[in-house]
């Protein structure tokens, strides 16, 4: 047991003893004075005076009876009265004087010890002849008040009711004073009783004391019920406070669904753990280092240790060991230049008692780290985290809510085909009837890729490979998602589709279903090549822009989780419209917006949106359209169409778009003969790539992404179009 624990136990014992002693003192005073130590002390120190006083009271009674009896017998007040039976005046403890009719002045003699202060003092007793009642009051000089009998005070004597009221009042006052002192010493309890939600703002280390105090007041259950904390969870939290560091880390991790494991290679004093965070965490953070410092360390010492750590890119979650260390730890963690976040004592209370520890972690990290470090926006590659995937619900429903079939996912690059496939794979995890597997091709060799994936020899045939997948499916139907199929399909087309035919046969036998994703080669195989086995192979799904609402959610929801908001409601709409509902562009712009935010800044205004829309990463993402096929001639025609459209939109007339006739007229003017089918393919390709789209009337083409036009300058676009047309004309002449 620690020194602090021993001291606490001693204090509790002493306090109990004090309370017992006080109770006994007060009770014995009234019930058993002989057992009362104060009474005993008085007797020991003033016993003789008390005995004499007792005698004086008896003598007083005799003297009053003598005087009253005389008056009743003789009809006159006596002139002198003496205690019957006392013949030696030196033995008397009290002598009577008669200063007036019906008045007896009883003076205490020198028999009383000097320290009692009674010798020579007098009490005046007055008889009321009407009713025969005696009244007593201090004479001159008056005896010390402590010797006065209750019926002999200067004022009227108190009744028993008055005495009881006084006792009650004093007791109540005492209780109030004690209560005030107690509340002053423990303001937390008072505030919690007033507003129970404040319990969640108490430091974790204070909970055991609060628990006892609420228990004394018999208010624990009521407060917990008001806050919505179950008793089990409360007791678990109280045990957590006393638990060893590794058990504390495990419980904290359990609240957010993280996998807790010991961390290797750390030399920090205390306990360091590694948390693998769940995929559902709405931040781009896969793991955390969790540091629970030695409770004996000061805040400055902990910070010094943290500063000495090697510069990594992993986030460290520092669990505050005490309120005393917290100011230094929070000051360090609040500096966004480091990758350290501090879970303060109050946050630990909320983390353990409340549901929604994940939201607490997100808010904490967003407040203490650079938001770009944990930003949930994924700007490159297929979306891997469920929380970063938005929309496509109808497309997903088409696949998920039906019997397994074949699908052909056609769309341009960076439009979300891979994200969609990964979302489908995630939804089928643990499905009782469907075994879904994702495979990304890296070249034209499907069978080799599948063999490597399954750990089989490279020369294994496609039939055997599918059989191996079926065997691993344990009776479930197999859906194989094959991504990046363009190179494979290009090779297949050159060799008469040998493997695709095999896939079709396997599918028709019901052994396996396929979803193929690709761009132009897939599109050609599906729509333009009548010999392709992909014709009528499966349902064709075109992947284009994201739904408007999903884009809006993508622009606002992750921001809100980070505590960042747009200054005006229409700004996200402006952003989405400028990005042409292309999800990766929306994500890139949002990531840019986060990177532009200053320290502590949490509101995005129109100026920042404008700057983000014109930022380098946006232009970077817009590039990559100039060579959509391996055919140089087709690429050149694509470029001519794009430059023509740029000229139209940037020109003085700011035309809404171009029609097919406009483009053909350009070719004619340049003396270039382009077959209508070639141009139609170019337009189809550019639409599929989401470079252009038909306008609402359907007659003209416009850029699918309005931002696309901003990468051109009018003069440049004109010059480039002319140059491409000249090159085309030269090539035609030379052939």
């Amino acid at each position: 047991m620690s020194a602090a624990g021993g001291m606490l136990l001693r204090w509790r014992t002493w306090r109990l003893l004090l309370i017992a002693a006080a109770t006994w003192f007060i009770a014995s005073l009234f019930v058993a004075p002989m057992l009362n130590p104060w009474v005993a002390w008085k007797i020991r120190h003033d016993g003789q005076s008390m005995m004499l006083m007792q005698r004086a009271r008896i003598d007083t009674m005799f003297l009053r009876e003598e005087a009253q009896g005389y008056w009743e017998r003789e009809g006159a007040w006596p002139t002198a009265v003496a205690v019957p039976g006392v013949h030696d005046p030196a033995e008397a403890v009290v002598v009577a004087e008669v200063p007036a009719p019906f008045v007896l002045r009883l003076r205490f003699t020198a028999k009383f010890p000097a320290n009692a202060g009674l010798a020579g003092t007098a009490l005046d007793h007055t008889l009321d002849p009407a009713n025969g009642h005696w009244r007593c009051q201090p004479g001159t000089p008056a005896p010390p008040s402590r010797w006065l009998a209750p019926d002999c005070q200067s004022s009227a004597p108190w009744t028993i009711i008055e005495w009881l009221c006084l006792l009650l009042g004093i007791t109540a006052l005492l209780l109030i004073v004690l209560g005030l002192i107690w509340f002053r010493a423990r303001p937390a309890v008072a505030s919690i009783l007033h507003a129970p939600r404040l319990l969640l703002q108490q430091p974790l280390q204070a909970l055991p004391a609060l628990d006892r105090q609420l228990g004394w007041l018999r208010l624990r259950a009521r407060v917990l019920a008001d806050v919505g904390v179950a008793g089990v969870r409360w007791r678990e939290t109280l045990r957590h406070v006393e638990a060893p560091a590794d058990a504390q880390a495990a419980l904290l991790a359990a609240r957010i669904g993280a996998a807790d494991a010991p961390a290797q290679g750390w030399t920090l004093p205390g306990c360091v753990r590694e948390w693998r965070l769940p995929d559902t965490l709405p931040l781009a953070l896969e793991r955390l280092w969790v540091y629970l410092p030695d409770p004996e360390m000061t805040g400055d010492a902990i910070v010094q240790q943290l500063r000495g750590m090697p510069n990594g890119q992993d986030v460290v979650l520092l669990v505050s060991p005490s309120l005393q260390a917290e100011p230094a730890l929070m000051a360090y963690a609040d500096d966004p230049a480091n990758l350290c976040a501090c879970l303060d004592q109050a946050a630990q209370t909320r983390w353990l008692l409340q549901p929604g520890a994940v939201a607490l972690l997100v808010a904490l990290l967003a407040r203490q780290l650079k938001v770009t470090r944990i930003s949930p926006y994924q700007t490159h590659g297929g979306i891997t985290r469920p929380a970063a995937f938005f929309g496509r619900e109808s497309l997903l429903a088409r696949v998920l809510n039906r019997e397994p079939g074949n699908y052909l996912l056609v769309g341009g690059r960076q439009l979300g085909k891979t994200s969609l496939m990964k979302a489908i794979e995630r939804r089928f995890v643990g499905h009782p009837h469907v075994h879904c597997r994702y495979l990304s091709l890296r070249d034209h060799r499907l069978a080799v890729r599948l063999a490597v994936e399954l750990g089989l020899p490279e020369d294994t045939g496609i039939d055997v490979l599918v059989a191996a997948i079926s065997a691993s499916a344990e009776g479930r139907r197999v859906l194989l998602l094959i991504d990046e199929t363009d190179l494979f399909l290009r090779d297949e087309a050159q060799h008469g589709y040998p493997q695709l035919s095999a896939l079709r046969a396997i599918s028709e036998e019901g052994r396996c279903h396929f979803m193929l994703a690709g761009f132009w080669d897939l599109y050609e195989a599906v729509t333009l090549d009548f010999a392709s086995p992909l014709r009528n192979f499966g349902e064709v799904i075109h992947v284009g822009g994201l739904e408007d609402e999903a884009c809006h959610a993508l622009a606002t929801e992750p921001m809100a989780r980070l505590g960042v908001h747009f200054a005006a409601l229409d700004l996200p709409r402006t952003l989405v419209a400028a990005c042409g509902r292309r999800a990766n562009l929306v994500a890139i712009v949002c990531q840019q917006l986060l990177s532009q935010l200053g320290r502590g800044e949490r509101v995005i205004d129109a100026r920042q949106v404008h700057a983000a829309l014109g930022s380098e990463p946006v232009f970077d993402a817009l590039a990559g359209w100039a060579r959509l096929t391996p055919d140089p001639l087709a690429n050149r025609i694509d470029r001519i169409v794009v430059y023509r459209l740029a000229c139209a939109q940037l020109g003085p007339g700011a035309e809404r778009g171009v029609a097919l006739e406009d483009v053909l007229a350009d070719f004619d003017a340049a003396g270039v003969v382009v077959e209508a089918e070639t141009l139609r393919r170019a337009l189809a390709r550019l639409q599929l790539a989401y470079v252009i789209r038909r306008d609402d009337s359907g007659a003209r083409f416009v850029f699918a992404v309005p931002l696309f036009a901003t990468q051109f300058q009018l003069e440049e676009a004109r010059a480039l179009q002319q140059r491409e047309l000249q090159a085309l004309a030269s090539a035609a002449t030379s052939t």
Binding site: Q264, A284, L285, E286, P310, N311, G312, Q313, T372, R373, Q378, T379, H380, G381, T384, R385, R413, Q414, S440, L441, R442, D443, V448, V452, E458, E484, D486, L487, G614, E616, P617, F619, D620, A623, G624, A626, R627, L628, Q711, F712, Q713, E716, A719, L720, R723
Partner: protein, 403 residues
């Protein structure tokens, strides 16, 4: 150290990749006899043919050090900056750019894949030793790989991946699948794996694409564990921005090597006062070779008076690398007209990560243009007056030639 004879070096490198004299000749645009004469030692390349020898280096897929050695043996200046071969002993000495680069790489989620694009006359990558030393400090000695894709030897890809495996210390690899499996085993070990890929763009297209596919697959399978830094210049940018077939490059973030600053020059010339470094930087416009040349001019004692800026610019405008860059471009009449009209302009075009105009793009990657940031955005400008003056000289020279 004695420089080996040009003929000996050329023969050795050609034998290594089994390149024929005809192949080399066709690639670099000279006759087979001329190449044979070089190999036999009967003749050396003429002074005008430095670019051909450089083309030969590229065709033979020589390393930067090998390229420099071959150029020197033929009496030419080295092409690539010479960097210290030893690892940096003091970590504090790591250039800030390198620290930023690795910080950025480590922050990329979920795919830590970064393209480092550099203009001509920088190393590929610049500060390679510092990058590797910093990577060793961050990832651990056995968690850092340096891939330098070789030229494909023979008909198949076996040698290609065997050589890559050799660079990674992977044994028993004879195919792309074997290479992938061996690399996957490395990734299964605890900790992230850093992989620097230099000269990615120069490898043969077929196996290069397979390599890209392997790296993409492994990046996806071991999400966040394979930290890839792929370095290159114009060709790599073309692969990323024009093609799109290599999805590895689609998932990669791009970084441009930053402009030269005084601190960079100071590390190569610690004894030169700052004002001279700043002057050299200004006159060269941040061109690495021109800056070194300017520094040499400004620090070499001259019997005449101290060189003024005009004299330095005039000298720099005759730098062979500028002529070699401009001459092939300006031979085209249309390009000559366009560039001629740009020479008087302060700004040529808005800067973009990938320039649409092929002519501007070529000038940019040849390091004749620089991106300069102004209040109204980033713009492309001529790197320095020496470049403009050189372009004018070349245009004038070509105009004097008979049509």
């Amino acid at each position: 150290m004695a420089v080996p004879a040009f003929a000996e070096l050329l023969s050795r490198h050609m034998r290594r990749i089994r390149a024929s004299a005809g192949g080399v000749a066709a690639e670099i645009g000279i006759s087979r006899e001329a190449v044979n004469n070089w190999r036999s030692g009967a003749s050396l390349p003429s002074r005008r043919h430095r670019d051909r020898v450089l083309g030969c280096c590229n065709y033979l897929r020589l390393t930067e050090a090998e390229s420099n050695a071959l150029l020197c043996s033929a009496g030419f200046e080295p092409e690539f900056p010479v960097e210290p071969a030893v690892a940096l002993a003091v970590r504090n000495a790591t250039p800030p750019t390198v620290l930023h680069l690795l910080d950025r790489l480590q922050q990329l989620r979920p795919y830590p894949v970064c393209l480092l694009l550099t203009q001509a006359h920088w190393g590929q990558p610049p500060e390679r030793e510092a990058i590797l030393a910093e990577a060793v400090a961050r990832y651990g000695h056995d968690r850092v790989l340096h891939l330098q894709p070789p030229f494909r030897a023979g008909e198949g890809d076996e040698d290609y991946f065997a050589r890559l495996a050799e660079q990674c210390g992977l044994e028993g690899v004879t195919s792309d699948a074997g290479f992938e499996a061996a690399l996957a085993r490395r990734l299964q070990q605890p900790g992230s794996l850093f992989c620097l890929v230099s000269r990615f763009e120069q490898g043969a297209a077929g196996p290069r694409d397979v390599l890209a596919g392997i790296l993409r697959s492994l990046s996806e399978m071991y999400s966040g564990k394979l930290h890839l830094l792929i370095c290159g210049g114009a060709a790599l940018a073309d692969l990323k921005y024009q093609g799109g077939d290599l999805s590895l490059l689609n998932i990669a973030a791009s970084e441009q090597w930053p402009e030269l600053v005084v601190d960079d020059l100071q590390r190569t010339a610690p004894d030169v006062p700052d004002y001279l470094l700043a002057r050299a930087l200004h006159l060269s416009g941040g061109h690495p070779l021109l800056a070194q040349a300017a520094l040499t001019l400004l620090t070499t004692p001259s019997p005449e008076a101290v060189l003024d800026d005009e004299a330095v610019i005039t000298t720099l405008s005759t730098h062979p690398r500028l002529w070699e860059a401009l001459l092939p471009v300006l031979r085209d009449v249309h390009a000559r007209a366009a560039i001629g009209s740009w020479l008087d302009r302060a700004r040529l075009a808005p800067a973009r990560p990938y320039l649409i105009d092929p002519l501007l793009r070529q000038l940019y990657w040849d390091n004749l243009l620089a991106v300069r940031v102004h209040a109204d955005g980033a713009w492309l400008e001529w790197r320095c007056d020496a470049v403009r003056r050189c372009a004018r000289h070349v245009i004038d020279s070509l105009a004097e030639l008979p049509a």
